[in-house]
């Protein structure tokens, strides 16, 4: 791999053909590409002063910017999946300075629920994980990745964002169709098999949602359930983050069990902040938060797992009635 200093000696034509994403450098800086036979360096030094002044740039800075751009994009492209095996939460102290004396290890593929009253410190725990805290937050907790202290620069690196978030009040705001949206996300990840990923995502999103939609459906016209389904599928296949944080998903128009299975199947750790027994029992463990500290960790018991079957029956019955309601049928067989 050529380093970014020699990249500026390539002709623009070669640069664009070897590193197609480099076109974004010209685009985002508002630089028109005229003669592709010019080297990048010659191109930059040939830009007139008045033009650069208009754009708020200068030659020296632009060349530095080019080198930084190429090396960053190379990092992002090579670090396609930010893959980890496990995270460990080392206890700190609660709001009364009482020691947590706890060590929780969470492996890839596990579903962990976080329970506790409002204001008990659930969000703080999640923020500690996201920040990969090293005893430098008020809780004094420490987060280890694969058993060791993560590099400090991961905290601010777009490529090493540990936590992806899915929550109830999130919406799509882009005014494009589903297919273009997925492609845009895939491009931003700089992956090669874009069409394949797009098909997978739309297939799984439809599995999760009761109401079908396709690649041409405008993003903003998706129903709440369809949006949630697309977000889950897209996060499963395209998000770099190994941990997915779900902030209470309602059972409206999305198959929750399948959603969790899909995420876990793509090697994610799933954290759910929830008070819904059905969701909580789908987890392997649940972390109980009280007064700002982790009070205990409960492993889901075999008895609870059995109870989950009964809860699922009730839930399925509700789903059935919801479907019947949607199809204009009578709900006169409820016992």
């Amino acid at each position: 791999m050529k380093d970014s200093v020699s990249l500026e000696n390539l002709t623009i034509e070669d640069l664009l053909s070897i590193y197609p994403y480099s076109v974004e450098f010209f685009d985002i800086n508002g630089l028109p590409i005229d003669d592709v036979n010019n080297t990048v360096k010659d191109y930059i030094t040939s830009l007139p002063y008045v033009f650069l002044e208009d754009m708020g740039l200068n030659q020296e800075d632009l060349l530095k910017r080019f080198r930084a751009f190429m090396s960053r994009m190379k990092d992002i492209r090579e670090e396609r999946t930010f893959s980890i095996r496990d995270i460990t939460i080392l206890g700190g102290r609660d709001k009364n300075e009482k020691l947590e004396e706890i060590e929780v290890k969470i492996n890839i593929g596990e579903i962990i629920c976080i329970v506790g009253p409002t204001g008990s410190g659930k969000s703080r725990l999640l923020a500690d994980i996201e920040w990969m805290t090293q005893r430098d937050t008020p809780t004094k907790r420490q987060i280890l990745i694969d058993g060791s202290v993560p590099p400090r620069n991961w905290r601010f690196s777009v490529e090493h964002k540990l936590v992806a978030q899915l929550s109830q009040n999130i919406n799509f705001v882009m005014d494009i169709c589903v297919g273009d949206f997925i492609r845009l996300h895939a491009q931003s990840r700089m992956i090669d098999d874009i069409e394949d990923k797009t098909r997978q995502i739309i297939f799984h999103a439809n599995e999760l949602s009761g109401e079908r939609f396709d690649l041409n459906t405008p993003l903003t016209s998706l129903s709440g359930g369809q949006s949630r389904a697309l977000m889950v599928a897209d996060t499963a296949f395209l998000s770099t983050s190994p941990i997915v944080l779900i902030d209470e998903i309602e059972n409206a128009g999305i198959h929750r069990k399948k959603a969790l299975e899909l995420l876990v199947g793509q090697n994610k750790i799933v954290l759910i902040a929830t008070h819904d027994p059905l969701l909580a029992l789908m987890g392997n463990k649940r972390i109980v938060i009280k007064n700002g500290g982790i009070q205990k960790v409960i492993e889901t018991t075999p008895n609870e797992k059995e109870g989950l079957l009964r809860l699922t029956e009730i839930d399925n019955a509700l789903l059935k009635y919801r479907e019947a309601l949607r199809n204009g049928q009578l709900l006169d067989d409820i016992k």
């Binding site: 974004e24 450098f25 685009d27 985002i28 800086n29 508002g30 002044e53 208009d54 754009m55 708020g56 740039l57 200068n58 800075d61 910017r65 930084a68 751009f69 090396s71 960053r72 994009m73 992002i76 969000s123 923020a127 920040w131 430098d136 937050t137 905290r155 601010f156 777009v158 964002k161 992806a164 978030q165 899915l166 929550s167 009040n169 999130i170 919406n171 799509f172 705001v173 882009m174 949206f181 845009l184 996300h185 931003s188 990840r189 949006s227 977000m231 897209d234 996060t235 395209l238 998000s239 770099t240």
Partner: protein, 228 residues
């Protein structure tokens, strides 16, 4: 004294982000001062006041806001030194997208929000591209995918900066920003320091109050569009 310039498009959440970060620093007994640069009116001084943060407001009125900024900022810094602030923050909106209040050797933050659309990082000039820290706000209302796409666009526009997500309402991420502010540049004077990029210029008859339209009224530094 730690000195930081905060900039960002109007309504991107600059004040909320600063307030949340300052809340995190409160327990450490820092003396904090904020300078708010605006054009016509601002009520933000009341918000700072409510949190017991000293602030001063500068309204540029009929003057170019960035030229107003640069001709006042050294006095502002001296004011901060005279009042023994540990941290001094200047907050200003980049109104024409070509403006940038960032100064060489002074920590520069740009606040930008997720709702602005993916083409925004391209449209915003040096204010974003030359910032040391880019704070992205309003992440709680857009999807994960949109957040990731937006962050990458910002990374492309500013390959070297620190990119941070802060929620101006819940304060998520503000603790992390506070750490960066604590480690910001130590500045004792701005005399002789340089802007990171020159400011947009004018100096034409309209600068001097001309209101009539027409070729014979356009005097001084005038530039014409190419229409054909």
């Amino acid at each position: 004294m730690k000195f930081i310039t905060f900039s960002g498009p109007p309504s991107s959440g600059k004040t909320s982000v600063i307030l949340k970060a300052m809340e995190e620093l409160k327990d450490k007994y820092f003396k904090i001062g904020v300078l708010k640069f605006d054009c016509l009116v601002t009520d933000d001084d009341k918000l700072y006041d409510a949190q017991n943060i000293d602030s001063r407001v500068g309204l540029s009125g009929s003057m170019c806001p960035d030229h107003f900024f640069v001709s006042n900022i050294d006095d502002c810094l001296n004011w901060g030194i005279r009042h023994f602030y540990d941290i001094l923050i200047s907050e200003s909106a980049g109104l024409c997208n070509r403006c940038s209040p960032h100064i060489k050797g002074c920590t520069a933050v740009c606040v930008i929000d997720n709702l602005m659309g993916i083409n925004t990082p391209k449209k915003i000039g040096p204010m974003l591209k030359m910032a040391d820290i880019v704070v992205i706000t309003k992440g709680d209302i857009v999807s994960q995918a949109e957040r990731e796409i937006f962050a990458l666009k910002i990374r492309q526009a500013n390959p070297d900066g620190i990119i941070l997500h802060v929620n101006g309402i819940t304060g998520q991420g503000a603790g992390e920003l506070a750490v960066l502010i604590e480690n910001a540049t130590q500045v004792e004077t701005l005399k002789g320091k340089e802007l990171r990029i020159s400011m947009p210029s004018a100096l034409c008859s309209y600068c001097l109050g001309e209101t009539q339209i027409g070729m014979d009224k356009q005097k001084g530094n005038v530039r014409k569009m190419e229409l054909d």
